[in-house]
Subunit: 744 residues, 2 copies
């Protein structure tokens, strides 16, 4: 305790001093001071008890998209917004949402075993006995199927796992793949397995990754119960998210739809998630080569690759119904710039009770919205319009938000200043991902909010975390840097349609790192679990409301929008360096390994009594011309610097120019998109951030170039470099318009 006090004295005093001295980005001195008073007022109205009540109420029953309880949650949220004075609507979309009719998994040889596919109710957690309307464990957007075949263990089902399987001479054709959850997004596992010829995929949570290997299991601890199963979508979101039948269009009643059989984002093979308890008999019955050391999991067996002799029958059939998704949209008109919208969202549908995911984030958003409304009532309405959104059908594939964004694409592209997303919360450290144009802005926001456990600012706590727990890469990338980098956004929550489809500057906020657990997408994501293990007393719920609320209010009230391009350039420069390093590493590795192959070194080194062969020879990696990208970045850097100098004295900017200026600023992110999108997936229009085509949620920065290199389409690299350079040029041109405006 003594040490914490010391710290408190040393760091917090500093922080306090810093806060009062710092002028807010986009505000003049007087306005900064007023905004801080307003934030203090805002903070006083954020109440943990209220968040806890909402959390309890909304998580009392399973409330997935299409469920009666889900509709009820949407209605309750809408009532709350209305009661606070928001102009509230429930916007409905008609979306395809498969729910399970048949789920059957049995081992037919060498022994018989039928998987239970059922999660236990627990005496210690009454919510787990509330099973009405419960969606059983399944993967949404698995295709129907009834297949039988030998099992092959594919580890995490990543491209590198398949490369290794090939070295063992294992062919997936006609086999059923069994994969561990984790390391790659779940939808990638059946996608790749199908490409390799598998006829079905089973995904289980290995206890080493998500179970007793991590810590005590629920209810003794937070980690995954032996019967717990992670549900989740396996829709091919890296191709496009949202309703599978209406890509690029809002799924209104009258929208034109694909036929189900033509929907490209439904899996090609049946998929089913299971618990580690159900996985144990299957994996125990396998033989063949022992898995590589890095593939070993936490079950008390020797893991084998197969194929077989374990042979299973997997049957899944779904109700391919169209259901209504209910997005709650609550608007507060801006007092000064009503045509500039700050959009702030969190989904409301859960796979089950959904206490952590999404409600812990949603209740923070509600508290924030309520407090913003109190501010308005007390005479301080936002200068810009604020749009609060509670999305439906995020879980099956970001459907509610995507359909809304597609439906309102035109007005959003015109009016949306930024989109701020949350999606669950827990104790820990603030983590913010997003457009690097908002990096300086968020750095200031987190400098001004206090961490509730240590009393230092969120920024100082995050810096401490980076110093102690960060990877070497993170330490290096943040060393001697004034602002903490935002991590670049891939996918996995509702920011995707805004950022990557519409080109609206976006951010995703949340706390993590200390509220661990294995409840994700299981029956055990309950109020009891959340308030015992993730954020007792919703202390970080309050802090999330503060940090997201301050960000929303500052974006809404700043005279000059707080976009900055110097940090953007610095981050893009980092990504370009990474691309060059990637090419060098792939070139060196390929040359080294090809040499070893050519000289038969593998043949000599490998154990002749084992089935493990040399890697396949790969095409040599040519040298690429990164110059166009670097030249364009150089130009962008110059414009960013000029603009930075001009914006430093933003008080001199006349009101006359302000609207034009701000519009140019918030339209800047649009310049990083192109109408025809990424190669092979035109829905994704952003050329700096995208989810990985073969990794899923994980981000690929400068994705056109990076993925062309990674998947060894070397002939395409030059063109992709030109395209990436051209989006930077567009942004440069936009910044030059700003410079001209300001110097005119």
């Amino acid at each position: 305790m003594k040490m914490i006090m010391t710290l408190f004295t040393s760091l917090v005093v500093m922080a306090t001093t810093a806060v009062s001295a710092d002028q807010l980005i986009g505000f003049d001195e007087k306005a900064s001071s007023e905004q801080r008073q307003l934030e203090a007022f805002f903070d006083r109205n954020i109440k943990a008890t209220e968040q806890a009540e909402w959390l309890k109420q909304f998580s009392k029953a399973p409330h997935h998209a299409g469920s009666r309880a889900g509709k009820e949650v949407a209605r309750s949220i809408a009532e709350l917004f209305s009661s606070w004075g928001y102009d509230t609507q429930i916007e409905e979309y008609e979306i395809l949402l498969p729910t399970p009719l048949t789920r059957h998994l049995e081992m037919v040889s060498p022994t018989m075993f039928t998987a239970s596919l059922r999660e236990d109710s627990l005496v210690d957690d009454p919510s787990t006995s509330v099973r009405e309307g419960l969606l059983p464990p399944y993967n949404a957007f698995s295709t129907d199927g009834n297949v039988e075949g030998e099992l092959v263990f594919i580890n995490y089902g990543r491209p590198e796992d398949h490369e290794l399987l090939e070295r063992y001479g294992i062919d997936l054709k006609g086999k059923i793949a069994i994969a561990k959850y984790g390391k790659s997004w779940r939808g990638i596992k059946p996608k790749l397995a199908a490409e390799k010829g598998a006829i079905g995929t089973i995904i289980y949570s290995d206890p080493a990754d998500d179970g007793y290997g991590q810590g005590d299991v629920y209810p003794a601890g937070p980690f995954k119960h032996e019967t717990g199963v992670q549900r989740g979508s396996v829709m091919d979101m890296p191709t496009y998210p949202g309703d599978v039948l209406t890509p690029g269009t809002g799924a209104t009643k009258k929208a034109k739809r694909l036929k189900i059989k033509n929907a490209p984002t439904i899996t090609r093979i049946p998929v089913l998630p299971i618990s580690y308890k159900d996985a144990l008999p299957l994996l125990s019955a396998m033989s063949g080569s022992t898995v590589p050391a890095e593939w070993v999991g936490g079950l008390p067996i020797t893991y084998h690759l197969g194929p077989g002799p374990a042979r299973v029958r997997l049957e899944v059939r779904f109700n391919w119904d169209t259901v209504t998704a209910y997005n709650v949209i609550a608007r507060m008109e801006g007092a000064r710039y009503p045509d500039e919208w700050v959009v702030r969202g969190n989904h409301h549908d859960g796979w089950n009770h959904g206490a952590a995911d999404p409600l812990s984030g949603l209740v923070a958003l509600l508290a924030e919205a309520k407090s913003v409304a109190e501010l308005a009532r007390s005479g301080s309405p936002p200068a810009r319009s604020i749009v609060y959104a509670a999305w439906d059908a995020e879980e099956p594939g970001l459907i509610g938000s995507t359909e809304w964004a597609e439906h309102h694409a035109k007005v959003l592209k015109k009016h949306a200043v930024a989109y701020l997303n949350t999606d669950g919360n827990s104790r820990g450290f603030v983590r913010i991902g997003g457009s690097h144009t908002l990096e300086r802005f968020f750095d200031q926001v987190i400098s001004d909010v206090e961490d509730p456990q240590t009393g230092v600012s969120l920024k100082d706590r995050l810096k401490a975390w980076l110093s102690v727990f960060g990877t070497e890469q993170q330490k290096k990338n943040n060393a001697d840097r004034k602002n903490i980098r935002l991590y670049p956004l891939g996918s996995g929550s509702d920011y995707t349609p805004f950022l990557q489809h519409l080109g609206i500057a976006s951010a995703n906020l949340g706390f993590s790192g200390e509220g661990s657990g294995g409840s994700y997408h299981t029956l055990y994501d309950t109020y009891e679990h959340y308030t015992t293990w993730r954020d007792p007393d919703l202390v970080y719920g309050v802090t999330l409301s503060q940090v997201a609320g301050h960000a929303t209010l500052r974006l809404a009230n700043a005279r000059v929008l707080p976009f900055d391009f110097v940090n953007l350039v610095d981050n893009i420069a980092l990504y370009v360096d990474e691309l060059e390093e990637l090419a060098v590493k792939m070139r060196t590795d390929t040359a080294r390994i090809n040499k070893l192959i050519d000289e038969d070194v593998y043949v000599v080194a490998l154990d002749p009594s084992k089935a493990f062969g040399p890697p396949l020879r790969k095409t040599d990696v040519p040298y690429f011309n990164f110059a166009p990208l670097k030249n364009s970045l150089e130009q962008l850097a110059k414009s960013a610097d000029s603009l930075d100098g001009l914006l430093e004295n933003d008080e001199g900017i006349s009101d006359r120019k302000l609207t034009q200026l701000n519009r140019l600023l918030y339209m800047s992110e649009r310049q990083l998109t192109r109408d025809n999108g990424l190669t092979g997936r035109p829905w994704y229009k952003h050329h700096i951030y995208a989810p990985g085509f073969y990794t899923g949620y994980g981000v690929k920065t400068i994705p056109g170039v990076r993925e062309a290199i990674e998947i060894r389409e070397f002939d395409e690299v030059s063109e992709q470099i030109e395209i990436a350079a051209s989006v930077l040029d567009s942004l440069t041109a936009q910044l030059e318009l700003v410079v001209t405006l300001l110097t005119d």
Copy 2:
């Protein structure tokens, strides 16, 4: 198959050419050719079937030191040597050898459980039912004790593990430590635990390291059976090996002995090894903090640090009897230089049946000795004397070899040219550790022996292994190097008294890497296990005879002894670089961590709800003056280069000078020792190679300097650098004597 043939053609043809062109080190062209013919004759007499018969015969029953079967094995070996014409003696030593009277381990709370401490006999392996004279699982040289206390999980029981436990606020005082086997030598675990206040230590083999996590368990596969227990000595060998009562003196009947209670190498607390089956209930009953992620093992539980609530009673009592160790010593007089001895040994005692350890090495030695005798009979006796040794009581602490080396120290120091050790074998790659003065020599030996599985030379196969499987460090250290480095010797087998006590150039040879298994020191180290899983048909038994036999014969017959100092210098330079890097790394890390501590960064970063605290502040690492060591090495390098030039034309060296030359050469290793040995452990006299005081078998090169830095006795570093420099100076002086002799 095709690829192997390609390889065969490309590499072997090259090798063959190389072989016929290469002159053997220490032989002129004619003698090289004769020696090679002699080796071809030698090879023809090595028969796998004969090795298999001996293996079966000697492993038919447990034959530990002090047992009737052990005495019988010694007698049989002696008879074989005699029958082949060796002047054979059994040299006896009276050694203290505790064997268990009482072994009891029970959990007394929170539930009751009594450990079985017994290995199952298996129907599939008849040898495991041969239990007469079986030593049950125990750790030799544990002290007697009957203790009761709460369990604390200490991971591998290394210094860094204890540092982490301290950060969890866990005090070992009055507790019983439970440690995993592995990562450090077993004797270090109770030694350190006792230093931290523990009253007892249990050691178990975790299935992740040694059991089903590695592969199928015996008898379905080679890995550790759930009831298997690794026996082994916990004598404090890094202080001194051999009979605990007669340090530095041969344990002859009349030798002066310490009292048992004064023997410093007996553990201070009781120790008992157990199986993972017995460990499971104990570890399952523990609670307290969850272990750090890297500490998690392969049992299907959450691992906790404790203390308790699992409370155990551990009782071990031993029969502290003196028994006779029977070393079989077989001499063949050198025809030309009888006073120069090549000593070649492998122990014969096993913990149980001992098929892999030690018999697989011993039968290769016997085949070698038999073939050497055939050579002699056919008219090609060795020029130098060869002494074959089959040591007793290696397992409890290198006792047979140490007592013999101590007993005959004076004559050995005078006459021993080199000591070559083996200790078990398996399929795989040749691995040779030893004095770097023999590095070039062994590089040539392994260039001339064919790998039986691939047809390339042992050297090419090892190079292939290094290229594919080597660590980055190994790859870097062997890159662009003509000769493959010998690894430096720590301890763990019978070379220790020769190399580190007497300063006789030594090497340890064996094959490993493809004959895996978990039979080490268990009931399952049987003929059946060995011939099924480690080296079916003893193919590599033959190859071990060849490589060790060629080395022995070349050392025995070379006109000029094949010592080289250029490679020695190159290796010492590497070690000096390592020391400098170590100091830099420790200095940087210490400064970085101290800064984080001083600025309370840990306090902010760590989870306030967890018991895990910041590390303790450490003394800053000063800059050290490595110049004396580097200057001395520079001088040594010059002398080594001069000598190298002179020895290249060794044909010109007159017979008159030869004896003196060779004596100076083989006495060179003695110069790397000092009479007063290492600080705190005077028995260890070598100042380039030693086992680690806190790591056990693992080598510490330039140990005086390295350990002073590692254990942060910074004030001693300068003195240790001076000492290390002085032994290099001694060697330089010796080489200058040779140079003078040759240029006179």
